[in-house]
Symmetry: C2
Subunit: 190 residues, 2 copies
DNA sequence: CTCGCATACTCAACTTGTTGACTAGGTCGA
DNA sequence: TCGACCTAGTCAACAAGTTGAGTATGCGAG
């Protein structure tokens, strides 16, 4: 039920096609939620039959037609109800952490390589987030922006995504150091 | 397929019952993975038929019998293969973030209450993690521990869970400040 | 002039994760 | 001695998320 609400929150910015939403859920909304296009299209259909969104087909020349979705009054109410509900805490659920947990009796070199790769990925993501942030701020400094913007939600969630990735980078660096030092010790001690 | 590997990683510490694993996945392994007992029992059955683990039934007086699971050689190989594989990055996927994204047009007071609640929850979790950490270190300081411990995986993943929750606390505090300042402004400006 | 990528989707099958209820004895505090 | 909680699970049904393939057109680079 949460993807539904994430989609509705995304539609607060105005109408959007499934395709655009898919891109958003792979880029900007992705600071805290991700999903595949398939999941989106399926959910959009359901939401339409449930009356939470309406679609308007736009005929395009030289491009496939697209359906632009927007929130209905019912959808808006639903979303408000959701904001008022309780929200369960989440865990990280990261495969890389499972690999690190098992690294001592697994392929340590491969795990180190995975950590390095992840670190780079996270650094790239931070770059993207920073660009997005600059765009959101639109030249204002943070205080000004927060005081005058119509919506602060997107900015706050972006901050969360940003700090998550920064944290990832720090943890990757720390873990690499530990595993490398350990490798050196194990190589020389026996 | 990742729960499988998480379970195998948990069994590296020695044999364990489904029930104990369930508690672990709600407490210690929970620094980065969670699951319900039902999911575990189902997965344990499958893993047994796949030959990754073996069960040994222990008859108990005054208690229901239990089945203690341990890794087989095949399971160990599988796990090593997993550590050598590539791991997809994850996103946070937190309902609270969806609520914050939509807060501007939803029930701001309720969202603030949710953030406060989450902050407390995260602080409590940090306490638990710190106790676990002290237990893992067993009186040694971090450097000593990392140099001498048989396994560092559990410690590294614990660190990740810890920093995730610390980050949550910081973000909650920041978001509350922003939303409160904004509430004050909106109350007085119109 | 072909290859690959971008737009804009659809369909089917599968795996994971969630929810709620049920069994059944033991222990512990009020 | 009653009710609540702990141990140690099982079963069923459903919701959510993943994977892979297919359709059709347009555009630009090599």
């Amino acid at each position: 039920m949460s993807l539904r609400n994430a989609v509705m929150a995304a539609l607060l910015d105005g109408e959007s096609s499934g395709y655009d939403l898919a891109k958003a859920f792979d880029a900007s909304v992705a600071n805290f939620w991700i999903c595949t296009p398939q999941q989106l299209y399926r959910e959009l259909d359901r939401m339409e039959t449930d009356g939470l969104i309406t679609a308007r087909t736009v005929e395009q020349e030289r491009r496939p037609n697209k359906r632009l979705f927007s929130l209905t009054a019912t959808g808006r109410e639903e979303l408000t109800r959701f904001t008022a509900a309780q929200h369960k805490p989440t865990a990280i659920r990261d495969e890389l952490l499972v690999a690190v947990l098992a690294a001592d009796s697994g392929d340590v070199e491969a795990v180190k390589a995975s950590i390095r790769e992840r670190k780079q990925w996270a650094e790239a993501k931070i770059q993207r987030y920073e660009r997005l942030r600059a765009k959101l701020l639109g030249g204002l400094d943070e205080e000004e922006f927060l005081a005058t913007a119509e919506r602060v939600g997107p900015y706050l969630t972006l901050l969360r995504g940003l700090s998550f990735e920064r944290d990832n980078v720090r943890w990757c660096a720390r873990s690499l150091t530990v595993l490398e030092r350990r490798g050196a010790r194990l190589d020389t001690s026996p």
